[in-house]
């Protein structure tokens, strides 16, 4: 079941199989393997078959749209009308939104079939999916290891062949890191490129919806349906959306790729460094020009990120108070008891830790030293990139400092968990688009190469990834479950 979107579209178009058949195949595989991989929280089999039936009718009528009949999975952070949206939390275990996220609406309008909602770290807070109320998803390459997070369920589903592609969100690396650890392709577009409406907020100024697939080509297709201005999201940007599939047009001769010297230094696993060097060599062979760049303020990105993201999350998660929806404690004594127990019982440990840290950072007397200062440094980080992109077209970097770690290995050490995002979160602080593509293996586990482009330059980003995938077969390696 390691089909790509492109292969499914071809099969549907040639009548090799119907949407109902391919959907049923995926549902059967999910039934068989989800108990092990735990990548789905909700499996929407009835809805999927219904949508597949409609898709087949459209195809028969010659009215197929971009993704008609293609089964997909959605991170359980996107609100789906009539289908539970848990965000990986006990707090929303009973929550069924009466509306669709814009991303869901767009993908549905393009004719895709929804297989289900994927597992994730609670409220997208984590790097391993171990913070899910529904238990961790596992890495299809090694079930003792984590798939990464927070969109670990989506990444594991695609890697395990339980979905050809899936949506995800990336606040500090939540698409790129699991894509790297699971050996698939993931893209986080420019902040503002994809609407955040109906996507449950973690860090509003950092959150961005994106996609997982086996290939850059498939990512291009999925992003195509997701991207665009949305009047319901004031931070979405009215910028033309090019045809991303058409711009996968080859030739990267003379493309200038910058390597930030700060990222290929201490702290990077030497095996990973070797894999990345080989990948960079591949780009050299393709005619790219490799130069060194410097992002001097990137070392500050971890503290800055954890102040900004947590401050925003502490406020974003205030609405989960047990009053109007979601978890409410049994027999509250009074209002304060209602708040304390509903939130105390409804949220997991990591979420509570982040709310507390964020609340502290915004408190009277600390705001200037933390939040305000972090926003100032954030501007410096942005300027680093602006300067670098005067010189280069693409920046290449590691996605993760190490391969997928063992389940439970870092759960008692939040700081070491936070450091998993050391190469990814500066991108969210700057709002730039980035991808992770499979670049090789270390100890039998996949290694990702991170590619970063300038604002709204997703077309170039996707093409740069696509050219690598034309010349290599790392992305075709499969962890398919037996």
């Amino acid at each position: 079941m390691s089909k790509t979107i492109r292969q499914i579209q071809r099969g549907l178009a040639r009548g090799e199989f119907s949407s109902i058949e391919i959907t049923q195949d995926y549902l059967t595989a999910i039934k068989a393997h989800n108990p092990t991989i735990n990548c789905y929280i909700t499996i929407t089999d009835e809805l999927a078959l219904q949508q597949a039936k409609t898709a087949d009718e459209r195809i028969a009528a010659g009215q197929a749209q971009a993704l008609t009949g293609v089964p997909l999975a959605h991170k359980d952070i996107f609100c789906t009308d009539g289908v539970k949206t848990s965000c990986g939390s006990k707090m929303l275990d009973n929550f069924i939104a009466p509306y669709n996220a814009t991303v869901i609406e767009n993908i549905e309008a393009s004719g895709a079939v929804m297989l289900g909602k994927t597992n994730m770290d609670e409220f997208a807070m984590g790097s391993s999916t171990e913070n899910s109320y529904y238990g961790p998803a596992v890495n299809p390459w090694d079930h003792q290891r984590v798939p990464g997070g927070s969109s670990g369920g989506s990444a594991a589903a695609v890697a395990a062949g339980l979905a050809p592609a899936a949506t995800g969100t990336d606040t500090g690396g939540s698409i790129r890191q699991p894509a790297a650890l699971c050996g698939i392709t993931g893209i986080k577009p420019t902040y503002g490129r994809v609407s955040r409406y109906g996507m449950i907020a973690f860090g509003s100024s950092l959150d961005q919806g994106g996609a997982f697939a086996r290939t850059a080509e498939d990512c291009a297709q999925l992003i195509q349906t997701m991207a665009g201005f949305d009047p319901r999201d004031s931070t979405s940007i009215d910028h033309p959306v090019p045809n991303y599939s058409e711009t996968l047009d080859g030739n990267i001769k003379g493309l200038r790729i910058g390597l930030p010297k700060e990222f290929f230094a201490d702290g990077l696993d030497s095996n990973i460094a070797g894999v990345l060097e080989a990948a960079i060599d591949e780009y050299r062979k393709l005619g790219a020009e490799i130069v060194e760049v410097s992002l001097p303020n990137s070392k500050l990105s971890v503290p800055v990120y954890y102040v900004v993201a947590l401050a925003e999350c502490s406020s974003n998660l205030s609405r989960f108070d047990g009053v109007r929806f979601g978890y409410r404690c049994e027999n509250p004594k009074d209002l304060e008891d209602l708040y304390k127990r509903s939130r105390g019982e409804g949220f997991g440990e990591e979420v509570k830790r982040r709310i507390l840290l964020g609340t502290y950072a915004l408190s009277a007397g600390y705001y200037d030293a933390y939040y305000l200062k972090a926003q100032q440094v954030r501007r410096l980080i942005k300027q680093d990139f602006e300067r670098a992109f005067e010189d280069v077209d693409i920046i290449a970097a590691p996605t993760t400092p190490e391969i997928a770690f063992k389940l439970g290995e870092k759960t008692d050490d939040p700081v070491s968990m936070y450091l998993q995002d050391i190469y990814t979160l500066f991108l969210n602080l700057a709002g730039l688009p980035g991808m992770s593509i499979p670049a090789g293996f270390s100890q039998g586990m996949p290694v990702g190469l991170q590619l970063i482009a300038n604002y709204f330059d997703e077309a170039r980003l996707l093409n740069t990834a696509h050219q690598f995938q034309q010349a290599s077969d790392w992305h075709l390696q499969s962890a398919e479950v037996k």
């Binding site: 907020a201 931070t235 009053v323």
Partner: protein, 482 residues
């Protein structure tokens, strides 16, 4: 005994008269069934986002221009974080560091032509909260979120007022202004216009401000005056008894006519304000400001000046006639029928009409006598159909709904007697009946003239033309002197 000085600043919340809410498309209509006008955005559902209603920005700019304030080119919405059941998101979207309207001012007229400038610190946009209903359900609290998200303009004054009376004059002036501008309906019963008062006292001559108390829950001008006066006395009593005023929020109880403590400074929330990452800064250009300035209606101050200069009204009349938009409209509608009778019209509106309105406790727009009706009445005085005295009788009948001035005069036979022969025979009769008074007059006691006029008017049931009566009476009495 020491002499005390009172220092008062007001925070006025004016509900902006938009059709839909500040950040959602839900209706703002008052008085519908609970929770029928709250959409997913107003309910603070997960994933939904605020989108600014452009009309509220126009309205805020109108106000800013009208008080000569600086308009902030890029004002910022901030989150004010606190938990309360009627605050669905756990934060209120407001403006904090960069309000849309900066420093401005408003002139007020006090007694005897004394005027004073009140500084306005700022005015900012924010969303209203919902309503907690404590009485409807035993041992439970109901929450109605219809009001949640209603746009408010919070107008904060400098502590420039020195008495409850001044505070009321200022509040009334703001009340009139927002109605003139058409940005607020001013309905205090429905909570469209609410005042909080910051009150402190200090010894006369002292420069340092005393500790202030903030009084909330004041929903009429009468209560504003009472609440402030109660608070002044309470604070003076405290200090004179050797204790101290504590900084706190106090609630005005109209039934008991007292303020009582709601929460102290220590119990106050740390609101953890920070810029709302879901909303962009509100960009306002000079062109926007000029366009809005050009579209402003005539403001009370301009109207007042015009009434004094062009219509030759007294300062007092002009002030009172322009003190509310409705009074000014009534006056100008009446004036349109009788363009050269400004003074007469002013006298009638400020005299008979306003007394009758007060007695009936209704507003001028509810007056049973329309501007057309009043102009008809005044026209009958000026064409000598009736005397001023009879006119009061006609006014009374009009107020009771007995018809137009013309029909009442006709039906009651109130037309003035101007026939010289008829008046002369009345005079002859009265002179014949009162020989003693005739002697007194002829002996030089001019005052007796009034007695004769009174008698004649009585005989004519008030219908004799007083001017003619005077003239003819004098002629006849003097004749006997010679």
């Amino acid at each position: 005994m020491a002499t005390w000085e009172t220092v008062i600043g007001l925070e006025i919340h004016a509900q902006l008269a938009t059709k839909s809410k500040i950040f959602s498309g839900a209706s703002t209509a008052f008085g519908t069934a609970p929770n029928t006008q709250a959409c997913a955005v107003d309910l603070g559902f997960p994933g939904v986002l605020p989108v600014l209603n452009a009309e509220v920005v126009n309205m805020a700019i109108k106000f800013g221009v009208a008080i000569d304030a600086e308009i902030t080119p890029n004002s910022v919405f901030a989150r004010k974080n606190y938990f309360y059941p009627d605050l669905p998101k756990g934060y209120q979207i407001s403006q904090f560091e960069l309000p849309i309207v900066g420093r401005g001012q408003l002139g007020i007229s006090l007694d005897e032509g004394v005027s004073k400038i009140i500084g306005i610190t700022r005015a900012h946009l924010e969303e209203d909260a919902g309503k907690s209903l404590h009485d409807e359900f035993p041992e439970q609290t109901g929450v109605d979120l219809n009001r949640a998200g209603t746009p408010l303009l919070e107008i904060v004054s400098e502590p420039d007022m020195r008495s409850a009376k001044e505070a009321v004059v200022y509040a009334r002036k703001i009340h009139a202004l927002v109605q003139y501008l058409g940005i607020c309906d001013g309905n205090m019963q429905e909570g469209s216009f609410r005042c909080d008062a910051n009150v402190s006292v200090r010894l006369k001559g002292e420069e340092k401000l005393g500790t202030r108390a903030e009084i909330k829950n004041i929903n009429s001008f009468r209560f504003l005056e009472r609440a402030i006066n109660f608070e002044i006395e309470r604070q003076i009593d405290l200090i004179e008894d050797g204790s101290k005023v504590v900084q706190e929020t106090r609630l005005y109880d109209a039934d008991k006519d007292e303020t009582r403590s709601m929460r102290s400074k220590e119990e106050a929330n740390d609101y953890r304000y920070f810029p709302d990452p879901d909303l962009l800064p509100v960009a306002v250009t000079d062109d926007d400001i000029n366009r809005i300035r050009a579209s402003l209606p005539e403001l009370p101050e301009q109207k007042r000046q015009r009434f004094i200069v062009d219509l030759q009204l007294s300062e007092y009349d002009a002030e009172v006639l322009t003190s509310s938009r409705e009074t000014a409209i009534y006056f100008e509608k009446t004036l349109a029928q009788l363009p050269d009778q400004a003074k007469q019209i002013a006298n009638w509106i400020l005299g008979e009409l306003s007394a009758a309105l007060n007695k009936a406790d209704i507003n001028i727009e509810q007056s049973p006598i329309s501007p057309d009706g009043l102009s008809n009445l005044i026209a009958r005085i000026s064409d000598n159909t009736i005397s001023g005295k009879i006119a009061k009788q006609v006014f009374e009948a009009m107020w009771q709904g007995e018809g137009s001035a013309d029909s009442i005069i006709e039906a009651k036979g109130l037309k003035q007697i101007t026939d010289t022969g008829a008046i002369e025979s009345l005079i002859d009769q009265v002179i014949a009946d009162n020989p003693d008074q005739v002697d007194q007059f002829r002996a030089g006691k001019e005052k007796v003239l009034g007695f004769f006029v009174g008698q004649i008017m009585k005989q004519s049931k008030g219908k004799a033309n007083p001017g003619q009566v005077n003239q003819l009476l004098r002629e006849k009495l003097n004749k006997g002197r010679e």
